[in-house]
Assembly symmetry: C2
Homo-oligomer: 463 residues x 2
């Protein structure tokens, strides 16, 4: 008796084997011939396994005929060739054991379709649905693909800190982390005495591992981070989370063109792996959530990403004749409508914009010889807009210090970051990809809260 | 001209190639014959690459002869066979460009040995040392090995939440996460109005992803988490961090024996990969930090872990004739001295203890038929003691509810956890491994602060 997954039992190779399969019942229907068909799912694949349970089972009348959706069972039997549509095999049960029932009066996931909003309230049960099983497998595939892409190329995975005492990262509003008793805050005169907090000063949740990633790139060459990051902004949109996972590669000796090459290869690899390794899940998303997602990904995988400077993009937008809500001129931050015009109408594919106005971008991006632009790059894709943001970093100590001055930052707060430019400085570049944005793009799910197990958003940190 | 890593240039296959290598200078020594040897490291391997730079370089007198440790350079030249000890190749430079100097008057990492304590203050530069380069590569190897082990076996990687509004996990003291202005706390009468905090109620940093992991195991079968976890305890020891990375597999239908099998295979795989994939780094640790580490790991990889019930372990300890600081009797929590006696003296190898007294363990561990013990397991290894803790989980709703009562927990706080037992409950089991403890064990590093990039401990959250 071989313990086997639903995925393995569905393969033609399994025919003839005596197996034990376990999982949760999706549906049961009884035939007039005195037997029942049970659809059994265990998460190993999108498709369920058909179990044929007949009257020869000792508990057929007493249990099998009363099995309900959501119940867990163990089935012993032989894998047989199946005449059913969409399945090569089925299991003819010789023994069926009910492990745990699910009262149809109270089990929330009944056969009727539930809204995605409603399922968020049942985040502890939604992985049992087709949609969230598929999201979980695709998200897993993308995560694995991210690690494989970098590991195969000799990158080192670095765990940059989650708690940071620098409130100077500047990428967004931060959450405070504290062990102070808020009802009895220690005071030094009239002010709170932060020296008595856990870390001896105020501490926050990180908004990016980039600066710490640069430390490792500037000593060990090729590195990447992949961990949670946080934004305390009060954004209630379908594209924002307060807690999300970010991937940030950083490479010594890379210049902006190398960075674009890396980002393009990286995205293509992730999309390709999702298409190849999750075909059933992707077919489901394509059918039920976004009829164009497979075609879009297939096209991106084989298309060279168009690369053009911000300045040229602005010219294209100005000449487009389109009526934009936000008028275009050199120096503005491009809006979603502009990005979508470029990727969906003008180029009909992914675009990498680079060399943005220095006033739009953070202090650490390398200043170009024109003194007006910096070596920033954004990768834009149809429907979603920006999916990757990155830059070549400023490796010249004097220019970096000057840029910090322009942005009213105190160099003392960045002493260690500046040290990287004092001692053996090197050109280097990197970028960031939000995992959830990538999974959203691949699956076509409209709301980012539906591509993370337990979304954290303003007012909500359930489960 | 091929861009090549130090690791690749050190291979005999590279001989004859025209290459470009870039990295940081470890040492330079000049020969009387009018040439210099430079040891170049780029993080791709423990060993450095020997560069031979001679008087034919146009900048030999002006620059090469003044190059200092920590400077970054780019070298073009041919890979030649080397007569030097411990190296198959060297590069004869035809062009050498200084990218960034490092003033020997101010560069902290001079040739003399620095203490590990001192290097913690220079955490932005310590990855440039032999020790922290090796730690980073081994840590990366272990992290990759963790993912590979689970992915190859069909586990799904789940990102359980970092911020949680349940203060009921019970595994340790928690950090509060807040956006309230501590100087102007909103009040509702005399009490702080937590409803105005970001998530509408008090929120904390997670101490474990287990309970959320169980949600996914109880719908998709085999899952694991791998992410940061937090402890707000004021522990200043060589084995505690306030922020560390934890791996937590959780498997539906697994019972305690399956859980032990999984833990044993898992540890062996990690140790084997470190030995096989980081031989130079491991040789370094074995020589400089722990003369027994390679031998210990090699032995563990081929030894069956001894498994015995807590009750038998107590009997062995009672009969041992050893004088323990903490006297042994049934019902006590085993101390480090007891664990070390078992692994180092009595069994001389790893031990899995199981079936602990119910009073010692959390509510979610499955109660045995004897009603006195629960299906807990701890994997103990020599020198370190407990490296893995886990259990079969209580899948029976009535027993679980009763256990919560014993431990004065409110079932309403765990409504979703109890739902997993209400609807299609299944036997399941899992365990947790602290990444840093594992890396500490493998490398033999004495202090856990030296196996994580930027340690967070009471009073310290630098970088």
């Amino acid at each position: 008796m071989e313990k086997i997954s639903v995925k393995a039992a569905r393969l033609a190779e399994a025919i003839g084997k005596q197996v034990l399969v376990r999982g949760w019942i999706r549906t049961r229907r009884d035939s007039k011939g005195g037997f029942s068909f049970i659809e059994l799912n265990d998460g190993s694949s999108f498709a369920s396994l058909q179990i044929v349970a007949d009257g020869s089972l000792s508990n057929y009348e007493s249990e099998v005929k009363h099995l309900t959706a959501g119940s867990s069972i163990a089935v012993e039997g032989e894998v047989k060739a199946s005449g059913g549509r969409g399945q090569a095999t089925e299991v003819l049960a010789t023994k069926l054991t009910l492990l745990g029932g699910a009262d149809p009066e109270t089990y929330p996931l009944q056969k009727k379709q539930h809204s995605l909003e409603k399922l968020r309230e049942w985040a502890h049960l939604r992985p049992r649905t087709n949609t969230f099983g598929a999201v979980t497998r695709v998200r897993n595939c993308v995560s694995r693909s991210i690690h494989n892409f970098f590991q195969e190329d000799g990158f080192l995975y670095i765990h940059t800190p989650i708690i940071t005492a620098s409130d100077c990262e500047g990428a967004g509003a931060m959450f405070r982390v504290t062990t102070l008793d808020l009802e009895k805050l220690p005071r030094d005169g009239s002010k709170i005495n932060h020296a008595l907090d856990f870390f001896g000063k105020p501490a926050y949740l990180t908004v990016s591992g980039q600066l710490e990633g640069e430390i490792f790139a500037c000593s060990l060459g090729k590195v990447y981070t992949f961990g949670p990051t946080f934004r305390a902004e009060n954004s209630n949109t379908s594209r924002h989370l307060s807690e999300f996972w970010m991937v940030e590669p950083e490479v010594a000796f890379n210049e902006l063109t190398d960075n674009m090459d890396l980002a393009e290869q990286f995205l293509k690899r992730i999309f390709k792996d999702a298409l190849e390794q999750c075909p059933e899940d992707m077919a489901f998303f394509n059918e039920h959530y976004d009829k164009t997602t497979i075609e879009t990904l297939q096209k991106i995988v084989v298309t060279d990403f168009r690369r053009l400077p911000y300045t040229e993009a602005v010219e294209i937008l100005e000449k487009s004749g389109e009526k934009f809500e936000f008028p275009v001129k050199w120096g503005i931050d491009l809006q979603s409508e502009h990005e979508r015009y470029l990727t969906e109408k003008h180029f009909q594919g992914p675009v990498i914009l680079y060399d943005y106005p220095r006033t739009l971008k953070p202090f650490y991006m390398r200043v170009n010889d024109d003194d007006k632009t910096v070596r920033a790059m954004d990768v834009l894709v149809p429907k979603v807009g920006e999916i990757i943001g990155g830059s070549q970093r400023e490796e010249r100590l004097d220019v970096l210090t000057q840029r910090m001055g322009e942005q009213h930052l105190n160099p003392d707060d960045y002493w260690w970051y500046l040290d990287l430019r004092r001692f053996g400085t090197v050109p280097h570049a990197g970028f960031g990809l939000g995992l959830e944005r990538a999974v959203q793009f691949i699956t076509g799910m409209a709301n980012i809260r539906d591509v993370i197990p337990f979304p954290r958003t303003p007012g909500s940190a359930e489960f």
